[in-house]
Every structure is written in C-alpha cells, then in structure tokens.
Amino acid sequence: AQRVTQPEKLLSVFKGAPVELKCNYSYSGSPELFWYVQYSRQRLQLLLRHISRESIKGFTADLNKGETSFHLKKPFAQEEDSAMYYCALNNNNDMRFGAGTRLTVKP
C-alpha cells in the first residue's frame, strides 16, 4: 500500500542551525513526491516537488529510491521557517500526505 511516514511530529532547532525533516514512503512504482508547508494562519501551500529538483527558500529535498526517503533539508534555519511541514506522494491523482512535522526555529 502507498504510504508516507513522517517520524517526527515536532522538531525544534536554533536559528542558524541545519534542519532536516524526515519523510519515508512506500510505493511500488516511480513516486512523485512533494513537500507542502503551512505557516501560521495561512493556507497549505506547495514548497517543492522532487521532479523540479529546485531549491525554495533555501530548502532542498533529494529523492533516495534505495532508502525510499525524501528528506527536506536546509543548512541554516531561520525563524520564519517555523511552520507545519507535510510530505506527500501522488498516486494516480490520489495524493497521500504524511501526518506532518511541526518545525520550530528558536532565536
């Protein structure tokens, strides 16, 4: 069954520290993976997708098919990065979301 797992519900780092939000998936085909972010009092929005291989707001995510992971990384966290982050997998128009990780960046 297709599944997305985010093992950390909460993650707290200090400003300027590196941050990594973990995402593991199970999927039998070639996955389409995404990271979504929800800032306080804002809508859920797309942060990045693996197919674009882009860096958004300093965040990157690399698809590791061997480890079935799509971890989100940023070398130097900023306070404005504090938000809820969701990893998602697209399975033929059925988008599966993980439970989310709440990132807090402390000053």
């Binding site: 809508r43 859920l44 929005q45 797309l46 197919i51 969701y86 033929n92 128009n93 979301f97 989310g100």
Partner: protein
Amino acid sequence: DAGVTQSPTHLIKTRGQHVTLRCSPISGHKSVSWYQQVLGQGPQFIFQYYEKEERGRGNFPDRFSARQFPNYSSELNVNALLLGDSALYLCASNLGQQQYFGPGTRLTVT
C-alpha cells in the same frame, strides 16, 4: 488574485444530518480535489474531479459524494453525519501536478 474559495468557513451539524460544502477553484483551473483533515493528521484524499468527471476517489464510505459543475466549482456532500466526520475539509484547485489549497471548511458534528 482570486485564490480558491470555500464556503462556509465553519458549520455545526448534528449526527445524522446532511452537509454540503462548496468550492470555487482558481479561474482557468478545471480540476479540484477534496481532502479531509482531522486534527493532528495530514490531509486525507477524498475525491478528485476534472472537467466534471470523477478522476480519483479515496478510501471514504459512500456517504461521501461530490460533483463538479460546468463552471468548475464543486460541492462535497456528506450524508448521515457521524461524530468522526468532524474535521477541516480542504479543497484544492489543480493545474497539472500543482495544487492550490483553499482555507478549508471547519465542520463540527455534535
């Protein structure tokens, strides 16, 4: 820029009642998706519609139904409400693989 709109913002219903939630996608987008988000969990996929046709369905009972109109707006209907249906219902306007989410409708079933 008019983003995705959903109505109502909040509503309270009693067990056994029926509810209709509405969504208007971004102008030019022909596809919408519906999600249920229970507190503490990620969104769970309910339906996707494209050009008025159902393109995907999640693992929800038949009490949940939806439709899309010629203007691409959409309704989500839930019959015989249960306490467990209390959640935030999100609508997304789709363009390719890009999804733009609305603010959601908070449904409370008492």
